[in-house]
Each structure stands twice: as C-alpha cells, then as structure tokens.
C-alpha cells in the first residue's frame, strides 16, 4: 500500500517535471524555429568533412 502511495508521489513528481520542462521549452521558443534546429546536425557533418 505504502509502495503505491510512493509510486503515485514519484509519478506526480515526474509528471510535474515533464510539465515544467515543457513550459521551459516553450519559453525558449525553440518550437518556432524547429526548421533551423533540425539543420544543426548537418552543420556538424559539414564541419567534420
């Protein structure tokens, strides 16, 4: 029983962390220039070649 309560607590903390990370990501506005961010790995390819 206590284990389940503990699991619920942990899952709520995880869910809260997820929401917080989601909110932080929105504040960074990276979702609005995802096209540019998607190109960053290509830049690394070019640098290595």
């Amino acid at each position: 029983m206590e284990v389940i309560i503990l699991l619920i607590f942990v899952s709520l903390v995880l869910a809260g962390t997820g929401v917080a990370f989601f909110a932080w990501n929105l504040r960074q506005k990276s979702h609005e220039h995802g096209d540019r961010l998607a190109l960053l790995p290509l830049e690394l390819d070019n640098d290595e070649s």
Binding site: F22, L26, E32, R36, L39, L42
Partner: protein
Amino acid sequence: MNMAAVATAPEALSTSTCLHCGLPMTPEMRGAFCCHGCEAVYALLHDGELERYYSLRRGPGTPITDRPDASRDLSWLSEAYQDDSTDTQKHLRLDIQGIHCSGCVWVLDKTFQRHPGALKLVTNPALGKVELWITPEFPLQEWLHAVERFGYRFGPSLKASDLGTDTLLLRVGVSIAIALNVMMLSAALYLGLNSGRLYDVFRTLSYALASLSVVIGGPVFFRSAIAGLRSRVLHLDVPISIGIALAFAGSSWAFWTGRDSALYLDSVSVFIALMLLGRYLQERVLNANRNRLLASEGTEGLRSKRLVHGSVETIRSSEILSGCELLIAPGDLVPVAAKLRSPQALVSTDWITGESRATQLQEGAQLKAGSFNAGDQSFHVVATANFESSPLQALLRPSSQTGNAAHETGLVRTISSYYVIGVLLAAAGGFAAWIFATGSAVHALEVATAVLVVSCPCAFGIATPLAHELVQARLRGKGLYVRNGDFLNKLSKVRSLVFDKTGTLTSGQLTLPITDAVTALSSEERDVLFTLATHSNHPVSAAIRRGLEAQSPSLLATLCVTEIPGKGMECRHNGSHYRLGKAQWATKAGQGTVLSKDGRLLVNLDTHEDTRSDARHEIQALSTEGYDIFLLSGDAPDRVSQMADELNIPQSRAFATQSPTDKQQWLAAHDQGDMLFVGDGINDSLAAQTASCSGTPALDRPFMASNCDFYLGTNQLAPIRDALHAATVLTSVVRRNLVFALAYNGLAISLAWAGVMRPWLAAILMPSSSILIVLATTLSLSPRSTRWKS
C-alpha cells in the same frame, strides 16, 4: 541560365512540374519553369552551390512571382538595430517574407556564413522573422540584396515576436497530460476499486487533477464566452463553457456527496483537452499564414527622399508638407500630389488607377499621388499638398476585418446557439421528468449531470477547425494562403467573381509577340533592334528586349545610341540610320512602335499586355461552372474591352476607367454577400474592404494582402477555382459532422434520460465519438478522397 544546372535538376520532380517550385505546369507554360522568377532563382541556387535546398525542402516550394529585384529600397534598415548593439557587435531584428521550410532556412544560413563578420543568425519561419548578430565588417546590404534575389523580401520588424499561441500550447500540453492521468486513475475505479485508502487517494487525485484542468483550460473559453454574451453573440465558446462549468459542477457535487455514479472527472478532463487542441489548431494555422507575408505599416511604411539645401535625406512620407522638394528615383513612389520640376519624367499610374501604359510628362506637369517613376532617370518634384490630404491615406488604411476565427460566424454559429439552448432544455427536462417520476432530487440531479457531461460539441469544437486546417493546407499546396478564418464559410456563398485587370488578370508586363515580320529581320537588323531596346528602360523597350532574347541576338556594344525623349532611340550602323520608337517619328506615318531603317518601315512592334498563363482557361471554367464574371478596371475603355474579348467576358460586364471609389460603390451596390473581388493595386484596396470576400496576387504590397481574405503565392489564377471547390466540399463535410453530432447527442441524451448513463459509459462514448468524427473528417478531406474529384 546555367544549362549544366538544369541537367542536375531534382529527379523527384516530374517534367510536368516547375523545376524550381515544383508546382504543376499548365500547357501554356513553355520550358522547364512556371515563370522567369523561378528560372532565375534556380540558376542562382545552382551557381551559388546551394542545390541542397531542393533536398531539404519538403514538398513543393513557392513560385517566385516576380523576377527578383536586387535594387529594392532598404532605407528602413537603420531602424532595425536593437538597443543592445555596440560598436563591435550589431544586433538586428527583421521581418522576412517567403520563408516556409528547412530549405529556406538553410539557404539563409549558408549565404550568411559566407560573409566576414557573420556571428549568428536565427531564422523563425513560423513568425516570418530573422534575428542576426554581426560585426561592423559584415556587408549587410549586400547580403540582404543577395537573399532577396532568391525571392525573399525583408522588411522592418513589425510582426509580433510570438504567435500568441505559446500560452495556449502550454495549456494544451498540460491539459492533455492531466486528461491521460485522470483516465488512468478512473480506469482503476471502473475496474472495481471502490473502497479502501487507495480508492480515496485515486478519487481525490482525480478530482484535484480535473479541477486543475478546469483552472488551466477553462479560462480560454470562459473569457471568450463572457465577451460574446456581453456583445449578445452566442458563439461556440458559450456551449463549451457551459459544458465545462456544468459538467464540473455536477461532478463536484457527486464527489463531495460520495455519489460515484455521477462522477465524470475523466470525461471533463478529456473534453477540455480536446476543445483546447481544436482551438490551438485554429489559431496557429491562421497566424502562420498571416506571418508568411511582411506586415503592412500602412502609410507609416512609406518613405521619401527630401531635398534640403542640395542634400538628400530619407524621411517618412507622413512628414511631407506642401512645398517640400522631393527626389523621385527610378521605381520610387510620388507620395503626394506634386508638380514636376525636372525637364521630363516617365511615370506609371497603374498602381493607383489601373492604367497600364507609362506616360511621358514635361516640366510643370501635375503628378498624381501614387504615381511611380517608370523611367531610368531620377526627377525632382515639388509637393503641392500635405501628405495628410493625400488619397494614399485612405487607400493604405489597414482593414479592420481581419482576424476572425472560423467559428465566429456562419452555420456553426447558428448551430451553436441552438445547441446551448437544446442541451440546457434536455438537462432541465431530464431533471423535471425524474423528479416527477421518482420524487428523488438526487437521482434527478444525476440524470441532469449525465446529460450535461455526455452532450459533446466536438463536431464544431474540434472537427470543424480540423476540417478548416485540412482544406487550408490543401490550398496552401496550390499557392493560396487564407488569412481570414471565416473566408471559406463566406466563399461557399460566392456566385460572382469580380476581377481587376492590370496585375490581376494580366501579369502587369508588356510582351512582344514574335511575328513573321520580326523573324524575317536580318541578323544585323535584329542585333540593332536588340541593342536599341537594351539602351532604354521604357516598358515597351523592355518587352522588345525580352521578346528577342529567345532568338539569341548579339548586343552591339560599340553602337552609339541616342535617346530622343518622348519619341524613341536612334543610331547609325554600317551607314544606315535606324530608329526605334513612335511610328510618326520613325517613318513619318502610321501608329504604334516601329523599327525603321533610313526612314523606311522595317517592322511593326506592337506589344500587348501579357495575361496570366491560365487566365483564359480559368475564366472559361468558372463561367462554365455557373459563376458570373465581372471586370472592373481603371484602365482605358479600349484595353478593357480588348481584355474582355480575349477572356470571353461579356462586354456588358466589363467596366473601364473605374476609380477606387467607383469600384467600391459598384461592389456596395451589387454585392449581396455572394461576390469575390480579386485585385492587386492600391486602387483596389477600398473595393477589397467592401467586397464580401477578397483576394490578391500582390505579395509585394503588404497593405493589399492585409486587407484581403487570401493571397496568391503563384502566378496562376487556378487556386481561386480550387478554393471555390474546396469551400463547397468543406461545407458538405461540416454539415455531415453536424448531422453526426446530432445523432450522437440524441443517443447519449436518451441514455442519460433513461438513467442508464454511467461514468464508465460516458468515458467510452464521448472520446469514441470525438475520435470517430475526427477520423471521418480527416478521411473525407485527405488528398485521396473522392470528394475532391466529385
């Protein structure tokens, strides 16, 4: 054109599509490109080793509607520097038009990094903005001009720095997370967990999370509903708000009184999450379409060159007073009525009157506000009025009609009003019937709560926005961008289309038909003609030059060409005297433009306005489909009549010499909510604001697009007919969804009235109906659907 580049064309594109933009080619288009702009940009990308653009781009691109202009005025640039700029590092924020995919972002990044002093570039396609950090050695103007040659356009940073949907997205994300968790917790309750400490924890947690969902998601609808009720408008947010408020109130009552048979916490959470998702879809799509273009500054965006004590200063046109001396460079606008101070000037008024031919004016002539310098020489004018009294003020005034969301008017609004009343009556009826039958207020309240929870406005809360998004995505692929959410609703009622002529049905350019007489010229005569035409910037000369280019003429660089103002060009070559210009001057007889040799007529060079490649076909198809076509133009009667004949428009429906207010009054008198107006010039802005629906092919004039319901990103008119068809399909899908919603709500309310509705049944029924209606909408409007073909 780099022919090697053509040979490496992207294989994925078939021969029936433009090699650059990938849009379908019509039979009238010759070669591998849909327009000169695409051809030029294709060559530029290959010459600049930027071919990777094509592999990074997803799907078709945007055609380059105008041949890129490398000399556009960037006088606004000084205002783009941000406050944190220092002597060693500059920070600028600019708006950009035409950017739409990873390929675009890559081209910008690549060209930026090639210059010294490039520190960082952040491109935001969703907002249509770029932010750059550079050192003073970075050649900013050179880079901006280079990028504009690819078909993009920069402007001052006027658009909002976010889509305004970030908060909404956060609410959507959190609401979905809550809904999933409440569903999991509720599943345990439905599967038999009905006592003990764990039961209490799950139950309390579900209630806490559902309450949080109402607090996070509810205000989006509550605020809008209250605003709607204050202005006595029953729009979609009213039933959604009532649904959330009453379902949560009923569930709260069930929670605190321990009546689990009326505890619908998961249904409430799922409902909020779905409605928020629908709202986000709706707002994001419209904002993204609006941000593809530069924002309109109205008259604040106009700048002029004022002469003060021999030096030139750039000022906002709104600062011009009567008596100001202005310098009008080639391509510049005359912002106020003015008197010409220079010996002569070649001006075009097509932008303001629709008159397609440029006019040669002599010193002392009056220039209309809105005239353009169409020549290759600057001239001086003296303003004869203050800018405050300029007619441009009214014509450039931003419209107040933009920004409506799809749910605010039309069929959906009507149904929404009835829906609110219907659900409230059903709940009250259920309550009254049960209290009358059983005498138990508790049972009656359970039934009323069940009615309020299971009745779901999903058909217009999520399926309608989704249908609009799918149709708009389809139209975007064809080059038509919707700016106003209500446009497709209004378009379904359109029965008449009213077109402007110059720049709308025509491409705005003159063309020279290559007649037998032209091909019969000797190579020497053709080279002389080409050289003479190359020495003049007159629109007719430019048309001759473009027309001859296909015959690969040679430019005689040593030829001494003299321009006779108002008459034409002349030169001597191998002992002969050639003249290109007015027939009366070149041969002492005839009319029009001719080439003469020693006073003898060599060839008539009659140019005509180039109609859009598919204009004739589209006008014919629209007429066949039963639409009435009208032509309203500011151009001269003979040219309007000729255009009407060419496009098979009855002469009784072609109106010439229409001023901006004439057009506005004509539409006000004839538009019964069933007219679509398509125009491009400043003279069309009043008409665009008056018509029920309006659109423009003018991407380079933000004020026009900002006054219209849609804009065209292609040289063709075909997307207009596609939109008319799409609006019909959309209406039928929305109607079918409403019928489905009626059937579902009828069944669910019947079950609630019968007293058999339980939370677990609601948890299955409501999401299932939503998923079903979303799937049906998606399938009906997918590209493969037979609805598009019917």
